[in-house]
Symmetry: C2
Subunit: 367 residues, 2 copies
């Protein structure tokens, strides 16, 4: 943790120093009680940090894994090129096992593997530097993408607005700034006066533990509410904008996100409150025609029955605990991407935005 | 706990034996982990049970207080009539202090005071018996009222229905059967096949701790969900009826109930799922023209920040924690009362039902 942005958004993960440096990540399992930095000097430390959710959020996990590759190969003998390539693959395979369903993890490790393949040409020493550069690039690209989402969404955060958010799509889930929270951090930077309501987000309370923590730390005016209070807050006129993140956006604009997002969207529509989702273009899955094609993970009953140490329900009661729900495109006012806002949310608009990136990578890439 | 109904609904509070007996109440602070009965042989035990929420729910609190009066005066000298009346008043004043805002508590103690006033006529011994009879009558009237609500609502619980309920308006809050849960217990008794989803009901988790417990114990097919999952369950067609309790019904039919009820009502309307409230006629407040006149208690931030024993949010984060919300009459399909279902929910229908009770107390009284 060598640097901080002026608005004090915590860096979930960063690289400190040169090739002999280390990865530094916030132990999110200790938040909000303690802010402790885990210094990773070996890939095993990164593996465990991913495994036990010390680092979470798809982009942050990808960055951590990429840095883990650097840690795992940097002491390799400078003269052993063949062994070096094998070792890179081995470290990548090892790190991929930390969370077997995290797409960003594989994506980041693939990028590292590709860099490793040029070792024959570059030699061991230069490839080590190239791997560190690639890991840093993955982080910087994500940070730039978050900032671009923030800039696209900034016009929504005018003086006096009160924004509701759900779960944590903030700096802790990404390299910096987050997705849903990025427009808020930029509005804070711009000196705008606004307030935020954070849904606590049962069962895992990411809103209470992480969003309230990082917004409060950055000086944003934040109020924590139980998920049950969102409707009453809207009815009382306390909220006039909703922004959440997204785990996956289908081709027609249906959005899978943390359980409860759909309820918030229905409530927002009933109160005529604009409802936006913030998502990088990498979150769109054009092979899924609608939200019905997005698989919904069902998680352990223990999260509902005994989430925080105490048993708060009969120990044998059946629970239904879906991790995500699907919000249909018709309930979205817009999707804030790093290339601008898609509104209204229609399949044509989505395809147009995504194909634009394919044909003009330079001008459309996150700046 | 001498008797159990065949369907095994727990008795939150009961009197065991004769004048030398005791009040037996379930210690609800230990649920769902432990079922422990507190035997109250003195009014102090009742006072503490009310104070520390071992007994909760307006009707159950009133019954406990009435029984506490019996316990406080039953050893009075048979020859001291004047001192006996004074003592009854003293015990009533003492018990009234246990929860200074509980309307049913004062109402029940008033009934006991009135019985005490006939001591000059009846003598001490007969008045003691009359006080015990009155306490039992308060309990029996409440049990009958719950059963009448259950019978009114029973036609809604057909084979195959899946009912969502919020908070705990069950046997634990009343003498028996509860209000919202009464139709479910009678449907179970009638052998109907149906299922129930219980919202866990943050912040105090009455759905998880109490509703899931008492329904499960009675053999009702119950599934516990986080409040966040209610919308997704509705969208998936898992729920086709909602019944909740009510803390107060305004003259126009607006309903104040546990925080989150309003959100459930909006979701039900969006999915065209019938939404019923179950409430005895004593819950209607005709002096309040609309829900806007019902004061909403705001409770401690600690319930949100550290409700599970662990601190799950930044310790200094601002919280907004309303205990109740108001569901407008337009979102209600009907109100299930002990005298039948009011549907549609309109001021005329409510006044008609309540005035009917005033003019024909015998035929309209709960059976």
């Amino acid at each position: 943790m060598t640097k901080r942005s002026t608005y004090d958004v915590p860096r979930a993960i960063d690289w400190v120093g040169g090739l002999d440096g280390h990865a530094a990540l916030i132990d999110q399992t200790l938040l909000p009680g303690k802010l402790e930095i885990i210094e990773c000097h070996a890939p095993e430390t990164v593996w465990h940090a991913i495994k036990r959710l010390s680092v979470r959020g798809a982009p942050a996990i990808g960055i951590a894994a990429a840095m883990g590759v650097v840690l795992g190969v940097r002491d390799h003998d400078e003269d052993d090129v063949a062994g070096f390539v094998t070792r890179i693959r081995g470290v990548c395979d090892y790190l991929a096992g930390a969370r077997p369903t995290a797409i960003n993890l594989f994506w980041a490790l693939d990028r590292m593997r590709k860099v490793g393949e040029s070792a024959d040409e570059l030699g061991v020493s230069a490839t080590k530097q190239a791997l560190l550069a690639e890991a840093r690039r993955i982080r910087e690209e994500d940070a730039a993408m978050c900032r671009a989402i923030g800039e696209a969404g900034l016009p929504l955060i005018q003086d006096g607005v009160a924004v509701l958010t759900h779960c944590n799509a903030g700096g802790l889930a990404t390299a910096e700034l987050g997705t849903a929270l990025a427009p808020l951090y930029l509005a804070r930077e711009a000196g705008r006066k606004f307030s935020v309501y954070a849904d606590e987000t049962r069962p895992l309370l990411q809103g209470a533990r992480l969003t309230a923590w990082e917004l409060g730390r950055a000086g944003v005016d934040v109020t924590l509410i139980c998920d049950n209070a969102a409707g009453a807050c809207m009815a009382a006129g306390r909220i006039n904008l909703v922004i959440t993140g997204a785990d996956c956006v289908a081709a027609n604009g249906d959005v899978a996100n943390k359980i409860g997002t759909y309820s918030v969207a229905v409530l927002a529509a009933a109160h005529r409150i604009p409802f936006y989702v913030a998502a990088p273009s990498s979150t769109f899955a054009l092979d899924k025609p609608t939200g019905a094609a997005i698989p919904i993970e069902e998680r352990a009953a223990a999260e509902v029955r005994s989430g925080f140490g105490a048993m708060t329900a009969p120990k044998d009661v059946r629970c239904f605990n879906p991790a995500f729900d699907v919000t249909p495109a018709r309930l979205l006012t817009g999707i804030i991407t790093e290339r601008g806002i898609i509104s209204p949310v229609r399949e044509e608009g989505i395809r147009e935005l995504l194909s634009a990136s394919a044909t003009c990578p330079d001008s459309c890439a996150p700046s």
